[in-house]
Symmetry: C2
Subunit: 454 residues, 2 copies
Amino acid sequence: MARHIRLNAFDMNCVGHIQHGLWTHPRDRSDEYNTLGYWQHLARTAERGLFDGIFLADILGVYDVYRGSADAAIRNAVQIPLNDPTLLVPAMAAVTQHLGFGVTANLTYEPPYLFARRMSTLDHLTGGRVGWNIVTGYLDSAARGLGLTVQPAHDSRYDVGDEYMEVVYKLWEGSWEADAVLRDRAARVFARPEKLHRIVHQGRHFTLDAVHLSEPSPQRTPVLYQAGSSTRGRIFAARHAECVFVSGQTRANTRGLVTDLRERAAGFGRDPAGITIFAGATVVVAPTGAEARDLLEEYRSYASVEGALAHFSSSTGVDFSRYDLDEPIQYRPTDANVSALEAITTRSAEPWTLRRLIDQMVLGSRTRPIVGSPVEVADELQAWVAETGVDGFNLSRTVTPESLEAFVDLVVPELQNRGVFKTEYAPGTLREKLQGPGRAHLPAEHVGASFRKV
Amino acid sequence: MARHIRLNAFDMNCVGHIQHGLWTHPRDRSDEYNTLGYWQHLARTAERGLFDGIFLADILGVYDVYRGSADAAIRNAVQIPLNDPTLLVPAMAAVTQHLGFGVTANLTYEPPYLFARRMSTLDHLTGGRVGWNIVTGYLDSAARGLGLTVQPAHDSRYDVGDEYMEVVYKLWEGSWEADAVLRDRAARVFARPEKLHRIVHQGRHFTLDAVHLSEPSPQRTPVLYQAGSSTRGRIFAARHAECVFVSGQTRANTRGLVTDLRERAAGFGRDPAGITIFAGATVVVAPTGAEARDLLEEYRSYASVEGALAHFSSSTGVDFSRYDLDEPIQYRPTDANVSALEAITTRSAEPWTLRRLIDQMVLGSRTRPIVGSPVEVADELQAWVAETGVDGFNLSRTVTPESLEAFVDLVVPELQNRGVFKTEYAPGTLREKLQGPGRAHLPAEHVGASFRKV
């Protein structure tokens, strides 16, 4: 039996997420991002398509490198306005049974004691369907919002991250023993105090002396996602992440990232195959290839190069407005954006110019869309899996919600016919759906499991 | 026409909230607090009863003063386990149209930049039905959870609070002008950069240089609740709060608090009648008075004195386990719990003993329940309003959800028959429902309005 492809809908609590400018398309509904009905429809659609989850990105700050201001981002709604992603999950969970939720949260700015409770609450309310995409942040504008003058240096952010993870593992795994909660009405004992443990942590960056406020949730530690592609980020992912989102632009590049990541995970004593790796993908599908290419041209007429450049300038720290179209682009890697620049460096053989960059921005981003009939799209997705070793895809939206609806209606049945996509959900929590029955908690070889009391 | 009484359901994302021990009652469902269905049923019931809102308490930390440990609190589920309240709101909002949501959040521990976005997100998703109960915290155990050795001193917490409010007012009221967002697809302009303002704040406790991440929500600033009863807390409330929750144990005591609060508000140039004041109330109602008194006795047999003492020991900082039943209770007010002790001091003429205290704890708390037929309960509620000047009540639960269901089925119609309770919701946001049509935003005389750009 062929291995099943995993699918997440990749989204963000905002108007323009990856494919900028498409909010101006007459059928696009992304400007209803601030209503519950919009998200509940999206969740129902993803569950109808048996998607593993909805993966919600987040960023704290604005894209203000391009032309030295946030004006282009604001005009084109490039991830601004941007609302909190966690608050979408309870409403989407209420209208679904199986769909998972990967929520991005930046550990640089939230105290671990409160954050651990927030994630436990989500895991309770969703019945164990929550994942956390661990982000350490990269925007100077975010640091200024939080009262810092500049960002902490890149590698030191990951050191803080390792200690932060230790604190939240202790809270999630080590504070309440498995048999602490009795709910015994007759004996009038809700929980047994001797089975609760105060977490005393005296570290370099965090100090804590408290019991976790939440009783154990179905998964305890949420399913851990990570998306760092820098070397330090990959070490962090190999140690902590159960799902990784890689964004290699080419198959060769992605294959390298996947191999490296699985090797590093094995180095931490983990099962390399147990890490679920998602590649980013953008799909434009229609019943026939010709219709799909027409649809791409239609969408393309609404895309925004200005929005795409505003986004990419902040991703790389390079103000692309300062270059003429055919002038070679010089850049100096800075700490704040080393991962995006490493990605460029490995991808690019010939000199970069603005013209080449804009040519790549087909749908308002540098991500090249997969365009075609259901058969063509399925072929391409299967080829990616075969050639790169990824387990599945984070599908970004184009014109929403029709891009997800089209994928569910056209591509999912094709993948099912080929036996490479599930025809029903597995039972249990998100971690059990990914790892198998009875595996609701972190596996014993995961670093987080070492903080268990029993 | 008689003035309408306001009603909130007072609750908390936990098992034991105010009336401790009642979770052991066979019909009580509070141990389902960690499921969405439980809260959606509660919200639907409150909206069926035309309640103004659900008011969600919160506390960061555990009650560990009684016997010098948290054991009694843990055994009796006295606000531990305790999940995050904000995450309940989107799910409850999805099944209601009018119900408001007052969410408690402690400003001592959350960066204003992130918190402001969280509240704006809730206000968007609920269509303008969100209130914020501003808390500065009082538990040392919470401070230890957040990495501090002891709490900041009481009055200085309110000074930090005033500056925190200034920062969030600037973000909510001053960052995006009213006509900043165009959503103009044809012109390809989502928002006009010249209508957005970076908030530059260099204060004693906070530094910020950022635009607010969220576009203006229906109310911009959420409806502001406060519950501080210390002198410094009342000054804070008179300056900022639009709704105040007072907890005077007697009518005379409550009347004094209400008068003081309205006078102080007038001193800040505000309309004293524009502040909506809620008193705490616990109601046990049945079709006849005799049945209600039987029901009280039934409930009472499940109440927990140990749980009530664990709670009250932390509220006051006095370990009541150290006293014999008839020994006069000595206490020294400490900063951390000055408000509860001020309340005792003003209430108590004769010496305090443990026996007197326990006698008062009828249903697992010091709150004396109102018990009777619908007519008797309505009489009592009206007498409270007439004699104290409060606008309404925060109704705490006893055996849940039946206590709210009984109130909605029995007391609400009686209040409506008397013309003192609404028969339909007013249109608009929560602030408009409280203040009148067209008043979705803070009034001009409120301190928060001074931070508007236009």
